[in-house]
Structure formats: C-alpha cells, structure tokens
C-alpha cells in the first residue's frame, strides 16, 4: 500500500481570481534530487479531478473549488495529501520523497508500471526496473523492451527491435526528443543507452498519439536525467566487458545542474592478452565501444528552463596483420589493416516555457548523425639491405562510408482547456541528409607505374520532412475517455508531398477494475532502412522515400481490455491488425555491398499485413513479482517482384513469443531474478532441391555445371525455436561510501544453442549459433 506525502512550495502567484474555478499548475519534483518527474498522477480528492505530469514534469489541475486536497503518486516515491483553501490560481511545485517502505517490496517491472487506464499499445518502463532483469553485465533498455508483448529482439547478434510485424527501421528511438538511428553496441548485445543517465522510458506500439510520427511500428521515447540540484552524486560500475561512471550535481547554484555519464568497453585488453597467450589467432580483430552522455540544465524561473544535451557513442573494430619475408638482399613487409566504426552523435538545445498557468511549451533545436565506415588497407613495402629507405611496392585502399544526419527544429504545446480536456499541438521540420553508401578504391603499384583511383558513390540526398499536429484528450465522463488527433506530414523535395494521419483511441471503464479499449492510427514513414540478408547490422543504410520509393504507410486497429485484480494481479489483453503499404525489400540477387548499382535500383516495394493478440499478466506479492507476456502473431509480405508475387512470411514472423520474468527478494541484501524466453524460430530461405537448368547457351558452360538450387518460396523454412534462461543475483549493501551492488548474472544458463543462420553443408543442414552460457560479475557503487 502506497502512502503519500507531499511537500508543497508555493512559488508564485500569477493572478487574483474571484471565481470558484481555480487552477493549480506547476512541476512535480523529487525532493532529494530536484529531478522533474514524468508521469506522476496528481489528484484533487475533493473535486476528483486528476491529471498526470507531462514529459517535462509539468501538470495543470483545472476547475478546482476553493478547497482542494492534493494527492500525488509515482512509483518508488512517497506521496501524501495537503488541504488548501484557494483564493486565486496558484502555481505549486509538488516535491516527492523516496518511500523507504517501498524498499521492502520488490521493485520490478510488475504492477507498478501497469495502469489499467493507460491507452492501448502504450508501455512505460520504469528505469528502476531495468536492474531487476538479468543482464549481460549491465542493465539494458533494449532487453527490457524486447521482453514486452508484441516486441521481439530479432536474432542474436542482430541489433534492434521488431514490433508487431515491422522491421527494425520502423522504430523511432527518441533520446530527449532527438532521433537516434543506431541503438546498440557490439551487434546488439548492449544498448547505446546508459541506464545511469536515464529518467523515463515510454513505448508506443499502437494507438499512437498525434504528437508522435515518422515511424510506423513503434515510438520509444527516452528521457535523460536533468542532474541533481542538491548535491554532487555519482555512480561507478565495474563490469567484465565495460565500465561506466556517472556524475551529477548543481553547477554554481541549484538553478544550474549537470550530469555526465561515460562508458567504455575494454575487450581489447582481453583480446590482446589472449593473443599473446596463444589462445586465439593474431588476426582476430580488436573491438571496443564507448559512449558519453552529458547535459546541462538551467532554470531561469518557474516559467523558463533550458537544457543542453550531448551524446556521442562509437563502436570500433580494428585488425592489423603483418608479415615479413627476409630475402638475401631485401626485406619485404606485407601489412593488412582493416578498420570499421559506427556511431551516433546527438546534440540538442531545449527550451521549456510556461504561458500563463495552463499552457506549456517545449521548443527543441537538435542535430543527430549516424555514420558507418570501413577501411581496408593492403600494403607491401620493400627495404633493400643495407639501404634504410623503405620503398612502397603496392598500396591498395578500399573505403566504404554511409550515414544519415538530421537537423531538427520542433515545438510542442500542451494546453489544459478544462478538467476534462487537454489540447496538444505543435509542429516541426527535419532536414535529413542521406549518404546511402560510397565506395572508394585506390591502388598504387610500382609495376604498373601509376595510381588508380575509383569511386562508386550514391548521391548524397537532402530531404526536408515537416509535420504539424493537433490532439485533444477528452474525458466525456468518468467512464469514457477519448484521445483524438490528426497529424499532417510530408516531405519537401523536388516534389512536395502532403499526407494526413488520423489518430484515435478510447477507453471505457466498465468497472473500476476493468477497462475496455480500442483505437486506430495511421502512421507514415518517409525513410527506409535497407538491410543485408535480413540481418539488422550497423552496415544498414537509410534511404529517403524519393527516387521512385514511396513512403511507408501503416494503418493499425487495436482492441483490448485491462483488468486489475485488486492490485494483486494485472491482466491485459490486446489484439491488433496492421496493414502496411510500400514496405521496402531488396530485390532478389541484390546486395548492399557486392554490386555497384544505385540503391533505388536494388529495392522493390510491396505490402505487409500483420495481426496478433498479446497477453500480459503480472502478479505482485510482498517478496515476489512475476510477469508473463505471451504473444500470438503473424506477419506477411506481398511483393509483385518477389516470390512470384505470392504472399510469404515476414522474416521476423514469430507466431509464439513467451517471456517470463521473476524477481524474488531473498533477504535484506540479496535479490534473485530470472528471465526465460521462448519464441518460434524465425523463417529463413533455404533451397530444398537442386536441378539441372541448362539450355543451349544459357547456363550450359558454367563452372558449376548448370546446377540450380530451387527455393520454393521466400522464408520457406524456420530456424529451431529460440529459448533461453537468464539468472541474476544481486547483493546490495550500504556503507559510508554509499550503496554498493554486486551482481552475478548468468546468460543462457542451460547453454542453449540458438540458431542465427542455417546453411547446407554436405549431407546435412547446419545451424550457426552465437552466444553460449556467459557468466558476468558487475560491481556498482552509488557514492554519496
């Protein structure tokens, strides 16, 4: 049972009002850190008015009487009530305290995050719950997201998430309102989001509010911390693969705060040691990744606040092999150097402003960039003994680069019209610059006597994308709540486009414990992600919906209900049907790298449809929490240029997907967590027969004797079922330094060999597997 307590600070009085309809507005903050709290409920128990703080912690309660009794609730924070007699509209900043009582309860991804009144297709993932899942060394947002119903993680070693029959490129990850194009390190094993620097995670997979757009499958809205305005605090985490450090505190005054968080892997240390010890070949590549989050916020007044955010992350792979051949009169040195790297760079400046007591605005100017490069250098030099001069004999360089960058300007308004109506409106413009791939080759050969320099480059394309939207969240009664909106969007290029995206969702409360829900949304996406062989890799290329490619359009209908069993258990069932137009695939035989054709000649567009039903069950006891998520779904594609125009399963079609997570508090110091996942194997395309297809002149005189492998259809086979058990133990102690957490995690406990790819070898089909059992130990210190 949560108990509430509010510390109220009256900051400003805006105006004197003599009517009986008063307004209270302000921000909800954590009293210990000054962080503004997103999604806290604020209730006046006298008028029964209720509202929720927005993505910036701002709230408005309207149509209040002279006497009010304010309650506030939020996970893990104490709240309570205060009774006031109002004489005019008032600004109140509500300050909440951490609830010690809650420490006795397992804080999990369980009932706390569930609200039966939340709209369909919406999930919030409290950052605190990230640590309650077993992980590969450190808490991971992507793993938590992938455990939600209707969401999959794809194959091991594949970065991204796959939502309701959509591909990886149909998800929009927003970090403080800025799109992030690559969301994982180490080919999907770690997310790029450092959980120490995060405040809030919202996920939409259906019934999208009009404020969101630009992708058709999901929106993942991630907010970072502002920084503690009370005192300097920090956190240090030492893991087997990577370590991170976070520092936050006031800068000169409580009005200015900072937070900086850095993380780096050090696998290359192990790799070098292993190479020296002869455990692995010298040509095994070295790998590392890092990321850096930083943010400075300054509160000018109750009305104005600005935040400057920065993110940079990078993955690097490097391999150098060298060989010397010593002759009688010369030494010839051969060097092969291969380097690859990819990463994001984000920067944003946000200004929050409050007009009056009911209109809140956020304006953002931001930059986001993702780039990928690979460079191979093959060099041979000769040194004639005893001449010290080194003469290059042959130098061959091959480079490949691709990427995308965005310059963004957007503004959003949040206006509370009355106690039962809230209006959201705004717009934005994004200037995209696409670099869909560029190959450079240069060769110097002393025998040829001249340099060769060749480039195969796709044109860099600039496309401007705009949108504006209007949305009203209206409560017709205590039982019926409707969220209706419309979004207008398009691109400004050689040809300007204009599209309308209607959005609608409704909740009807049958009983206080049971809510029926339904909704419809149209989403339009003006860019496509081209992937190699269906694997989501850093090499994937973003391309715009131009040059004959049409924007991706999806229409989705959702229905469902949520039931809260007296706070003892929670059950949610959601069904959806989604139709997609202009889904983009590579043509048969095409490859992103192996052929130098423009990207638009390699692609073809078709249609997709998907449907499914998602069950979510959560049970909360004093020491135990249990989450069970099960999804039955199907997803198909139809493309006139593929599979002879016949429908085929989408490459991430997974009919059965089951996730079970459990947390148990063993003692004051020890927690135990377990996570088990089961999923139908993903479809793959495999030949089932071979035959001779030789005719006069055609395929007759080929070196493989004219043999053709026959694929009956695309994705005609399936990999074996995927399943895996992860376990975690956490020991938490407190001493004069601060809180110390020692985590023992075991990934893939029973060493399941989950297939990521199949191929024919000799007399059998072989499955390639990637991750075996992996134990990790992580030490974390949250210092005071």
């Amino acid at each position: 049972m949560l108990r509430f307590r509010i510390l109220v600070v009256l900051l400003f009085v805006f105006k004197t009002a003599y009517s009986q309809n008063f307004t209270i507005s302000g921000f909800v903050e954590d009293v210990n850190t000054g962080e503004r709290i997103i999604g806290a409920y604020i209730v006046d128990s006298i008028s029964n008015n209720i509202t929720q703080s927005n993505s910036y912690g701002f709230y408005v309660l309207k149509n209040l009487g002279r006497d009010v009794s304010i309650h506030s609730t939020f996970i893990g924070l104490k709240s309570g009530s205060i009774t006031l007699t109002l004489r005019h509209d008032t600004a109140i900043n509500i300050k909440m305290q951490p609830a010690k009582e809650l420490q006795e309860v397992v804080v999990s991804s369980s009932i706390y995050k569930r609200n039966i009144n939340s709209q369909l297709g919406y999930i919030t993932i409290p950052v605190k719950t990230l640590t309650t899942m077993p992980a590969l060394g450190e808490p991971d947002i992507l793993k938590s997201i992938q455990s939600q119903p209707g969401i999959q993680g794809g194959m091991e070693g594949s970065a991204g998430v796959f939502v309701r029959g959509g591909s990886a490129g149909e998800n929009l990850f927003l970090l403080d309102d800025v799109p992030m194009y690559n969301v994982s390190h180490l080919y999907g094993f770690f997310s790029v989001f450092n959980s120490n620097a995060l405040k809030d995670i919202k996920l939409y997979k259906g019934c999208f509010p009009a404020i969101y757009g630009g992708r058709t499958s999901s929106i993942i809205d991630i907010r970072s911390l502002d920084g503690n305005n009370k005192s300097l605090k920090g956190e240090f985490s030492l893991g087997f693969i990577s370590s991170d450090i976070t520092l936050e505190g006031p800068l000169f005054s409580p009005k200015t705060t900072f937070i900086i968080s850095a993380r780096r892997s050090y696998m290359e240390l192990y790799l070098d040691a292993a190479k020296r010890a002869g455990l692995m070949g010298k040509d095994f590549p070295n790998y590392n990744f890092y990321d850096l989050n930083a943010r400075i916020s300054h509160t000018f007044s109750q009305r104005d606040k600005i935040s400057l955010s920065f993110y940079k992350g990078k993955d690097n792979i490097r391999n150098i092999a060298e060989d010397n051949i010593i002759g009688l009169n010369e030494i010839t040195t051969y060097t092969i150097q291969e380097r690859s790297g990819w990463g994001n760079l984000l920067g944003s400046l946000r200004w929050n402003h409050t007009f009056g007591n009911a209109l809140f605005s956020n304006t953002t100017i931001a930059y986001s960039k993702y780039d990928y490069f690979t460079r191979n250098e093959d060099k041979s030099v000769i040194q004639n003994i005893p001449d010290p001069e080194i003469i290059p004999v042959r130098i061959y360089n091959a480079d490949y680069t691709s990427g995308i960058s965005d310059l963004i300007l957007k503004t959003d308004f949040d206006y509370t019209i009355s106690d039962n109506s809230k209006l959201l409106f705004g717009g934005g413009l994004t200037s995209h610059t696409y670099d869909p791939g560029k190959n450079n080759f240069d060769l110097y050969d002393i025998n040829l006597g001249k340099d060769y320099d060749t480039s195969y480059a796709n044109n860099i394309i600039d496309v401007n994308e705009y949108y504006f939207y209007l949305e009203d969240r209206y409560n017709f009664s205590n039982r019926l709540k409707v969220d209706a909106g419309i979004r207008f969007s398009g691109i400004l290029n050689k040809q300007t486009s204009f599209n309308i995206e209607p959005r609608f969702s409704a909740n009807y409360t049958i009983q206080p414990q049971l809510v029926l829900k339904a909704g419809y949304s149209r989403m339009i996406q003006y860019l496509h992600l081209l992937s190699t062989s269906g694997l989501t890799m850093p090499t994937d290329v973003w391309v715009p919906a131009v040059e004959g490619l049409k924007p991706l359009i999806s229409d989705q209908v959702d229905v469902g209900f949520a039931y809260n069993g007296d706070n003892k258990f929670f059950l949610s069932v959601e069904g959806y049907r989604k139709w997609s137009a202009n889904t983009t695939d590579l043509r048969q035989g095409s490859s992103l790298f192996s052929e130098f054709r423009p990207w638009y000649e390699k692609t073809t567009q078709g249609r997709g449809n998907a449907w499914g039903i998602e069950f979510s069950f959560a049970k909360q006891l004093k020491k135990l929490s249990l989450d069970i998520n099960y999804t039955f779904s199907r997803a198909f594609r139809i493309n006139p240029d593929l599979n002879n125009g016949v429908r085929f399963p989408f490459r991430y079609d997974r009919p059965h997907d089951l996730n079970i997570s459990l947390n148990y508090k063993l003692s004051e110091k020890w927690d135990f967590s377990a996570f088990w996942i089961y999923g139908t194997g993903y479809p793959v395309t495999l030949p089932v027969e071979n035959y001779k297809a030789g005719l006069e002149l055609v395929n007759w005189d080929t070196y493989h004797g004219g043999t053709v492998v026959y694929y009956p259809s695309i994705n005609n086979c399936r990999l074996p079922a995927y399943h895996r058990l992860d376990l975690g133990f956490r020991r938490k102690t407190t001493n004069r330094l601060g809180d110390q957490i020692l985590s023992f995690d075991i990934f893939n406990v029973y060493n399941r060999k989950n297939a990521i790819r199949m191929h024919i070898r000799g007399t059998s089909i072989e499955y390639i597997t990637l991750l075996p059992i992996i134990p990790t130990i992580t030490y974390t210190l949250k210092f005071k």
């Binding site: 087997f240 790799l271 192996s594 027969e689 071979n690 493989h704 694929y711 089909i765 597997t769 990637l770």
Partner: protein
C-alpha cells in the same frame, strides 16, 4: 587467476560460431524439363530429375531419364511421343556437362505461332507439364561487315564489326537472343563475340575469360527501346579466332518465359556464392516439376570468312 581469465576468454570471446547438425525432411523428387524448341531444329528436350538439396556438390551428376513417357501436343492436338536417344555426358571446360537433349521428335520442326505443350510422365514422380507458343519470326534483313582497329588484350582482338539489321514488329512485346556459330569443316562451335549496344539487357556468358573479361556466347534483349523500328545491332568478334570459317548469325525471337529464365539464371549465377545477396528464384514455367520449356523462331544469315 590466469585460468579464470583464460576460461572466461574462451567462452566469451573465442566462442564464435558453433554448429549443430540437424536433418530436414526430404519431400521427394520432381521431373525436370529443359527444352528450347527452335524453328531450325528438330523438336528435342532434356528430361531429368531433381536432386535433394542436401548431400550435393557441384560435381554431382543429375540422373537423366531414358524411360520417361514424353508427349508433345501442338495446338492441343497430340503430335507424337518423343523418343529417347542419348544420355551421354560430355567433358567440357573441366566439367561434365549435359547433352542439350535426351528426347527428340524425329520429323517435325516447330512452327511460328503454334502452341506446344509437353507432358512428361514417369512412375513415382508427379506429372510435369509446360506450354509455349513459338513467337513470330523476325528476319535478319542484312548483315554488313567491316574491320576496325582496336587494342588487343590478352591475345584477343575484337576487330571484325558486323551490323545485323532487323525490324521489330510494332505494337507487341518482343524478346530476342542473338548468337553466332562458326562452322569449320564439319565442326560447329559457338562463337565468342561482343556487343555494347544500349538495347542489350542480358549477356550469355561462357566459362572462358581473358583476365577479368568473360567471353560471351550471346546476348538477349527486349524491344522496349526499339518497338516497331528497324535496328542495326553491332557485334564484334576476333577474326584471328575464326579464320576460314562460315559464320552463321542467328537471331532468335524468344518467348517472355525464356527471357525471364535468362534474367534470373544470370542473376543466380552472379550471386549464388555471395552470402550477403538475397536468394534468387530461377524462373520456371513447368508445373509439377522444374525447368523451362520455351520456343524460339530463328532467322539465320551467314558469311564465309576467309583470312589471307
């Protein structure tokens, strides 16, 4: 500590890919029909069977039937049964290759405009059927030759330029294949030649090459750039390869099925060893089986080529 480190490294970093062998069900074999029936040849096809995908390497030989029941119909009228005549393999370019046919019909040439249907029956296999219509004949109207001066590379000099003139019928979709045959004494051989005309869409590559240059046996194209127009197709061949020969120019009017087969076959051959390429489904018009059964109307012209 060293042992712990070594253990962790082994399981985490050097685990790489592990493989597990699993069998997949074998759903049985099918009949394969390969037949390009042309107006300048007796009707003949190659009948074989498919091979299970697992347990095959490129050197494997495919089973050629000698006791299948092969019936041919012309405009829905039973014409005759094709007769088995050969299953010999040939050793060519370091590979065993198939004969171009093992069943033939002894006394009929395909006629332009006629529809031909083939039905192949063999006990233990599903029946395989395919249909094709012989396209209308597009005649070579003229062949002009001239000698050009070009750079030689790898001992190859494409110095003889020939212009093959024809007129594409207007208002219909047509597909073509051009190839050249050299006859010296009693032997025939397909000629390597080159065309860089913009209408060329598909090359018919040979296994032979000079450096990175793959020698080509023929070219296929559609009429999308020349619909209803008179056109002179430029081809070049190496005079030193084909001295004292009679050179036949063959312009084949082919079906769309055959053109699609050439397109997908070329794509398959170009990409099947690339693991990053999307799989290619080679076009087939055989129901109940695999392969291609297509027709072509052939127009031929020739020159006698003497070198001093």
């Amino acid at each position: 500590m060293k042992k712990i480190l070594a253990y962790l490294l082994l399981i985490l970093l050097t685990c790489s890919c592990q493989k597990a062998e699993v069998d997949i069900p074998d759903t049985g074999r099918k009949l394969v029909i390969n037949g390009l029936i042309t107006t300048d040849s007796l009707l003949n096809v190659l009948i074989s069977k498919s091979h299970y995908a697992v347990g095959l390497n490129w050197e494997s030989r495919f089973y050629l039937f000698d006791s299948a029941n092969v019936s041919i119909y012309s405009n829905n009228t039973f014409l005759d049964s094709l007769h088995y005549w050969s299953t010999d393999y040939k050793y060519y370019s370091h590979n065993y290759v198939y004969p171009l046919s093992n069943y033939r019909f002894g006394n009929a040439y395909p006629i332009p405009g006629n529809e031909y249907k083939i039905i192949v029956k063999k006990q233990g296999y599903p029946d395989a059927t395919a249909t094709t219509i012989i396209p209308r004949l597009v005649k070579i109207e003229k062949v002009d030759t001239s000698r050009t001066i070009v750079d030689a590379f790898y001992g190859l000099t494409f110095d003889m330029n020939c212009k093959i003139e024809f007129t594409d019928p207007p208002g219909e979709q047509n597909f073509y294949l051009i190839n050249m045959v050299a006859r010296r004494n009693l032997t025939h051989e397909y000629m390597y030649f080159e065309s860089k005309d913009p209408i060329i869409e598909e090359e018919l590559p040979s296994h032979s090459s000079r450096g990175n240059y793959i020698l080509t046996y023929g070219y296929a194209f559609s009429d999308k750039l020349i619909d209803g127009k008179k056109y002179s197709l430029n081809v070049l061949f190496a005079s030193n390869f084909y001295s004292n020969c009679t050179i036949y120019f063959r312009l084949l009017s082919i079906t769309e099925d055959y053109f699609k087969f050439i397109q997908t076959m070329n794509l398959f051959n170009a990409t099947y060893t690339d693991p990053l390429s999307e799989p290619v489904m080679v076009y087939s018009n055989v129901s109940g089986g695999y392969g291609i059964f297509a027709g072509a109307a052939v127009s031929t012209d020739s020159i006698i080529f003497h070198t001093k």
